[in-house]
């Protein structure tokens, strides 16, 4: 296929042909199939054609698809075909462009380097990142443009002055006295009640905006509006989301979120646009997206009072209140989008943008509210799918992507429209009895896991746009399943419906995103099947991934029993897996009912004009502090109504006791966390003197982020090629044989460093990473630990070895690992398996404003897109305020005890072996033990490879470190010659950011250690190990020579009902790689393939890891226990 490109370039490019084809059979061809058989020059030539094409193409989706093709070639196809050894480094300039989101400049810089120096793995990784991010940026920009250009949204971007404001509050909401009506003093409150939505089909993520706009035919979901309650807690299902609005007699905006326990009085327009300042971002977004505070007025320096005087009345303002009936975060029922839509709806009704003040909305109004909700999500920096505001519509509906037509703002730009079409199923299509059967069979639960599904949505987008074979087939299959579900629903066959949703989960959903499933979900499904047999009709996944909101379908007669059992099963499974998976809350079982009205409003008047009880519990303490005569007339009238409601309305009867709990919190809460923390510190050997020293140093500025760095005049050089032994190609046979012989002699043991909490993996939640079932290998979920043991098992059986395996632990991981291994019978690992408990712990500190600013201002930061950047700036201001008000350098104790402690770095984990007797035990078990292979828990490709062992033996070093060639994501130092000495250097210690980009090799953190030489370096011999004091003294001496790094870690604080905040806190650490700086130690360095040296730090890496062959490699070097 040929295509003439504009600008006169003409060439034959298969891939450009695929991108531009009008025939679906050609257009939907997969990239992978083409690339598999292509040579490096052929791929580079295709890249050149695609690059030219995407720069000149006007069609947005063709451009984006070309970008994703380029990304995929550089990420998955080229690196495997290139030699691993050396090649041009990633130019720092290009990296700096990437950070500033100057993608075009970054791509140009990388391509120039590639043109002059040839391709390399590092360059390809950099190009892949740039193409990937540019692709998403292009898509996001288009969605934003579409949101802005939807008719009915445009005017809001033009209003820059209150005098131009065209909205007026409806007269019915103004206090009567003001508009000269009769019954003076009448207060009114407008209440919007909105159901949430559940996706009956699971859409195969086809409701992602980008995808609906690319392939509207495939974007279909069956969406049901439901009322909800927590079983055993609430009396009956209600619309879970409520928004209240009233006119107040002060010229301010009062915002209150009952569910988050937050309230604020907003007096300036600037505050309305400050989303991350408090927990009221959603309410602010609603005020803006509804046009009350039009987005065009941001930064115009105008007065809020003037705006309110124009929109409401001079001297008056508005109060906006949100309330979620305690539905926890992560329910996968689109609670936050529903709440935003509800808030927007109430604001739009109040300003006449909906024809009726009360009752349901009409179709046109619902569509407008949905469009505004998308706008609001964009403003507040979040984003959902287009079905998420489905709760605005009543009952059961089919939501479908729509082709863009002439007159649509999307026409000529994307194939599909931003907003889909909704077809509401009337009772003649899905009769009432079928709806009832569904309610009688379905058990809805929240499993308690709260995960970030953001990376999953990106992965799906990427796979769909690439038309990856398996995923594309799965997507088409999911469409077929939706049809089947529709048929079942119309026929009233809920059992078949259950079978279809299960088929969907095990088929297309997991073919597209294997991570949608997890061990917890599998455990629950397995138990449900076991206990209910044929009466368990199916599993149904909700939203981005399982573990949070889920559905289990049972024979109707057994629903009640199933609800009860599932509650228990979830508790048990959570208890077992709580160390391994990120749970945010206790599991709950819901009761639900289909909501046949959609969003609906009522005007509360007279005695009914009250806000929800939670509002008064939150606000009354401050009201009670005000002198009675200082209370406004409106507030006094309201208190009068509240008083009588407490006596007469059952739902308000609990107010008094709730108020007392609020007023006197100490009596209820107690101080148990603080007591626990003290106990933990004592138990884990906290060194208070050292801690005080760290604090004093931190406060005085002797240590800190800036002080981690080596002096700026240090000479940092990239090692020469001969400084490392290239083990990416097969090593000499002799080395392999030496290794095999050493294994057979019992000279080697494995040490797995497993003290860490995998904070990056779970974004600060803190799970035991070793126990995290991170991926399915050979058909089952495997924990990191199981995978490492499987590799040692294979070495044992293949080379007749019996490798002792040591797992180092910390206060955070010891007990869970011990219990888990006991439960799993050590995964039936036959050779010795020892735990090495940690003996050091640190207490986290509130960071200094200086370090926060250094992190955010001095260190390179990824610039986010415009709106997200605003959110981040606002959040950072709030965090600096928090650090200053909590006291810089003071102990961080405002969290669960385990989140206040921190491991002190993996350096300590090795000398701990001397200290805690584990090394002695090893010597007793294996008197000929001479070498340790030490690796991180997340270096899943590392095994005791005899050839590498042979290389370590041959160089007779104390330490042999494994390195890999650097890719753009490999941040954190590497192998360097520092002042002439070849050593591993931490990223924290590099004087300048660009130094890292001059280093070819990155640390895999796997090292081979000659035990006797190491003991010698500590001034010890094997026989000294029994002498505790001597060992302690030796460790202290070497420890003092190791640099202490101050780091800021993100720690999650959980609160409310599944809510989480992330705080950066200060901790310190010493790192193992710094041992290579000790001049008396002989060190060597081995370059190993990426498959072996890659560390899995971030969940977002998993998909690429699975696709680029790494997972297959790990399977090939593992021998999992067949049971």
């Amino acid at each position: 296929m040929t295509r003439d490109l504009k600008g006169g370039v003409s060439g034959t490019s298969t891939l450009v042909g695929i991108v531009t084809a009008s025939d679906p059979a050609v257009r939907n061809q997969s990239l992978d199939a083409f690339c598999r058989s292509s040579s490096v020059p052929a791929l580079l030539a295709e890249c050149q054609s695609l690059e030219l094409f995407r720069k000149q193409c006007d069609n947005l989706y063709q451009r984006v698809r070309a970008l994703f093709f380029l990304y995929a070639i550089h990420r998955f196809h080229l690196p495997g075909k290139l030699s691993h050894f050396r090649g041009p480094l990633i130019p720092f300039d290009g990296y700096a462009h990437l950070l500033k989101r100057r993608f075009e400049e970054a791509i140009r810089t990388f391509l120039e380097t590639q043109a002059s120096g040839g391709p390399s793995e590092g360059l390809s990784s950099a190009l892949a990142t740039a193409y990937h991010d540019l692709g998403f940026q292009t898509l996001a920009d288009q969605v934003r443009r579409s949101v802005r250009s939807v008719r009915g949204n445009q005017w809001m971007f033009r209003i820059g002055h209150p005098a131009d404001h065209p909205l007026r509050i409806r007269r019915e909401l103004l206090p009567d006295g003001r508009v000269g009506q009769t019954s003076a003093g009448q207060d009114r409150i407008l209440r919007e009640q909105t159901p949430v939505r559940m996706d009956l089909s699971h859409s195969g993520w086809s409701d992602i905006f980008f995808l609906g706009m690319d392939f509207p035919e495939g974007a279909r979901v069956l969406n049901v509006s439901i009322d909800l309650c927590v079983l055993g807690r609430d009396p009956s299902p209600l619309p879970p989301v409520e928004a209240y609005l009233r006119v107040i007699d002060e010229p301010v905006l009062k915002l209150a979120s009952v569910d988050l326990g937050a309230s604020a009085t907003v007096e300036s327009l600037g505050e309305v646009f400050d989303f991350a300042k408090d927990y009221l971002g959603l309410l602010k977004a609603a005020l803006i997206a509804s046009g009350i505070v039009p987005p065009g007025i941001e930064g115009a320096g105008q007065s809020l009072e003037e705006l309110l005087s124009r929109v409401v009345a001079p001297g008056y303002g508005l109060e906006l209140v949100s309330n979620v009936h305690s539905i926890p975060k992560g329910s996968r029922l689109a609670v936050s989008t529903s709440l935003l839509a509800s808030l927007i709806a109430v604001c739009m009704r109040a300003t006449g943008q909906a024809s009726s003040l009360s009752g349901p909305l009409n179709e046109e109004e619902r569509r407008l509210v949905a469009a505004r909700a998308i706008l609001g999500e964009w403003l507040a920096g979040s984003g959902g799918g287009w079905q998420d505001s489905g709760g605005l519509w009543p009952g059961i509906k089919l939501i479908q992507g729509a082709l863009a037509e002439e007159g649509d703002p999307e026409f000529g730009i994307s194939r599909g429209r931003l907003l889909p079409n909704h077809t509401i199923f009337r009772h003649d299509r899905v009769p009432a009895e079928v709806r009832e059967s569904l309610q009688k069979s379905l058990v809805l639960v929240h499993g308690g896991m709260a995960q970030n599904v953001g990376p999953i949505l990106e992965m799906v987008t990427e796979k769909y746009l690439l038309r990856s074979e398996a995923e594309w087939a799965a997507r088409l299959q999911a469409g077929g399943i939706l049809d089947k579900i529709l048929e079942c629903l119309q026929a009233g066959d809920i059992q078949a419906l259950g079978a279809a949703t299960t088929q969907n989960f095990y088929g297309p959903i997991q073919a597209i995103i294997p991570w949608a499933d997890n061990l917890y979900t599998q455990t629950l499904i397995g138990r449900a099947r076991q206990e209910f047999g044929r009466d368990f009709w199916g599993f149904w996944m909700l939203g981005g991934m399982s573990g949070g909101g889920m559905g289990f379908i049972f024979a109707p007669g057994r629903k009640a029993e199933a609800q009860e059992r599932l509650a228990k099963l979830m508790q048990e499974a959570k208890k077992k897996l709580s160390g391994a998976l990120p749970f945010a809350m206790d599991p709950v079982v819901y009761d639900f009912g289909i909501n046949e009205t959609g969003t609906c409003a009522q005007l509360l008047e007279g005695e009914q004009a009250l806000l929800p009880q939670g509002y008064y519990v939150m606000m009354m303490p401050s009201v009670m502090r005000v002198e009675q005569q200082s209370l406004g007339r409106q507030r006094r009238r309201e208190l009068g109504r509240l008083g009588s409601a407490c006596r007469t309305r059952p739902e308000m009867s609990g107010l008094v006791s709730a108020l007392f709990d609020r007023l006197l919190p100490g009596a209820v809460a107690g101080g148990s966390d603080t007591q626990h923390l003290a106990a933990f510190l004592q138990e884990y050997g906290f060194d208070a003197t050292h801690h005080e020293q760290i604090r004093a140093d931190l406060r005085s500025g002797r240590i800190g982020l800036a002080q981690n760095r080596l002096p700026t005049n240090s000479i940092i050089e990239d090692p020469a090629a001969e400084d490392v032994l290239d083990a990416t190609a097969p090593l000499e046979r002799e080395l392999f044989q030496h290794g095999v012989a050493s294994l057979a002699r019992g000279e080697v043991a494995v040490v797995t460093l497993a003290a860490g909490a995998g904070s990056r993996w779970t974004q600060g939640t803190g799970v035991v990473k070793a126990l995290h079932p991170f991926c399915k290998l050979t058909g089952r979920h495997r924990t990191f630990l199981e995978t490492h043991l499987a590799k040692s098992r294979r070495i044992n059986s293949k080379y007749g070895a019996e490798l002792p395996h040591v797992i180092t632990t910390s206060y955070l991981t010891h007990r869970p690992i011990q219990e888990y291994l006991a439960y799993e019978g050590n995964y039936r690992y036959q050779a010795p398996l020892l735990l090495s408990p940690g003996r050091s712990v640190g207490l986290r500190l509130v960071p200094t404003a200086r370090d926060l600013r250094f992190l955010w201002e001095e260190m390179p930061q990824q610039l986010l897109d415009e709106q997200a950047q605003k959110m981040r700036a606002s959040l950072r201001t709030a965090l600096v305020r928090w650090a200053l008000s909590s006291g810089e350098g003071s102990d961080y104790t405002d969290n669960t005890p385990l989140q206040c402690l921190h491991p002190v770095g993996h350096w300590y984990e090795i000398p701990n072996l001397f200290k805690n007797g584990v090394l002695q035990k090893l010597f007793a078990l294996r008197p000929r033990l001479k070498h340790l292979m030490i690796h991180n828990i997340d270096t899943v490709g590392a095994d005791v490879d005899p050839a590498l062992l042979g290389a370590h033996l041959a160089n007779a070093s104390c330490l042999t470190f494994e390195v890999i060639t650097r890719r753009i994501e490999d941040r954190g130092g590497g192998l360097a010659r520092v002042g002439g000495r070849l050593r591993m250097v931490e990223g924290l210690a590099l004087p300048r950011e660009e130094d890292e980009f001059r280093l070819s090799y990155y640390s895999s953190n796997t090292s081979w250690v000659d035990v006797d030489q190491l003991l010698l370096a500590f001034g010890l011999t094997r026989s000294d190990l029994a002498d505790e004091a001597r060992v302690a003294d030796a460790i202290r001496t070497v420890s003092a020579r190791m640099p202490t790094y101050v780091t800021l870690k993100d720690v999650k604080k959980r609160w409310g009902y599944g809510q989480e905040d992330v705080y950066p806190v200060t901790q310190f650490e010493k790192l193992w790689g710094d041992m290579t700086a000790m001049p008396e130690l002989k060190c060597a360095f081995l370059l190993v393939p990426r498959f072996r040296g890659q560390q899995l730090k971030d969940q977002a890496q998993l998909d690429g890891w699975l696709r680029d062959g790494s997972a297959e490699f790990v399977e090939s070097i593992s021998e999992f226990d067949p049971d």
């Binding site: 008719r151 009915g152 949204n153 445009q154 005017w155 809001m156 033009r158 209003i159 005098a163 131009d164 404001h165 065209p166 909205l167 007026r168 046009g291 739009m348 300003t351 006449g352 943008q353 046109e364 407008l368």
Partner: protein, 285 residues
């Protein structure tokens, strides 16, 4: 289509006294607002004018019309049932004829020699259909006016075919339904307070409804046009409305020079006296 009759509504709750206000017209003569409106109507060639008033107002209105009182017929709106009902009260007067309708609280200034009402009746006569006078108005003024959506009539630069009419729309509604190609962004065709209506409209004016909704219905039944008038309207019912109208009349008339001189003098003397106060203050220090 010959327009022989005019209907002026002046029964609104808050506008009863507005037509009785006295102004100096552009010809330099002191007149009531009503008389100026009546002159506007007569200039359009009508032969009879009906004024719809609240019960008991006839006498004061008759007096305010001065020597033009003989042209006027008065009809009372028995109960305050809104604007549309007020027009409907003139049903007998209009008697199945097309008529010019003016509101009692707007005054007009024409940019050319032809007065605004005349421009409208001439258009109606040429097009033989209902024509509403409109003006491109910024969206911030939408809460005050009935607004028209439609498209341009080919070859007639200031004429639009009405497709939709909404009374005081929200900007959201306006953007969705009332966008008119060719207008500046954020501008809509809002009523000018002046219409030529065909008799069919009388059957569509219901109690409590608005002229806008009746026109929206009428546009569904017969051809209705909107005409951009070369002139300006002054709503004397808004804050400083009467003053603005007065200034506009004066600056567009024979006393223009004198009024301008007065204004300059007023400004200058105020500024000078303030500067003088400030200057003395400084001297004193």
């Amino acid at each position: 289509m010959k327009v022989r009759k005019a209907v002026i509504t002046a029964a609104g709750k808050n506008q009863r006294s507005l037509p009785l206000q006295t102004l100096i017209d552009s010809d330099g003569i002191q007149k009531s607002a009503l008389r100026i409106i009546v002159e506007e109507a007569l200039s359009a060639g009508v032969e009879a004018i009906c004024v719809v008033v609240s019960p008991g107002d006839e006498e004061s209105y008759r007096e305010a019309a001065g020597d033009l009182r003989n042209w006027l017929h008065f009809v009372e709106q028995p109960a305050p049932k809104g604007y549309a009902n007020a027009i409907a009260c003139a049903r007998e007067f209009t008697a199945h004829e097309p008529f010019l309708h003016l509101v009692g609280d707007h005054l007009y200034w024409s940019a050319g020699p032809t007065r605004c009402a005349r421009q409208l009746t001439e258009t109606a006569a040429a097009e033989s259909c209902t024509v509403s006078a409109v003006q491109a108005t910024r969206e911030s003024m939408l809460p005050y006016y009935g607004t028209v959506g439609g498209r341009r009539v080919a070859g007639k630069p200031r004429l639009y075919l009405i497709e939709n009419v909404i009374e005081k729309p929200t900007p959201t509604e306006a953007e969705q339904r009332l966008l008119v190609p060719g207008l500046r962004s954020g501008h809509y065709l809002c009523f000018f307070g002046m219409h030529v209506l065909t008799p069919a409209v009388m059957n569509l004016l219901e109690d409590g409804s608005s002229l806008s909704s009746a026109l929206a219905m009428l546009a569904g039944k017969e051809r209705c046009l909107a005409a951009e008038i070369e002139g300006l309207r002054y709503d004397i019912g808004v804050k400083y409305g009467l003053l603005t109208a007065q200034l506009a009349l004066a600056l567009g008339g024979k006393d223009r020079e004198g009024v301008l001189a007065h204004l300059v003098e007023l400004l200058a003397s105020r500024e000078l006296s303030q500067a003088g106060v400030a200057g003395r203050g400084e001297e004193g220090q």
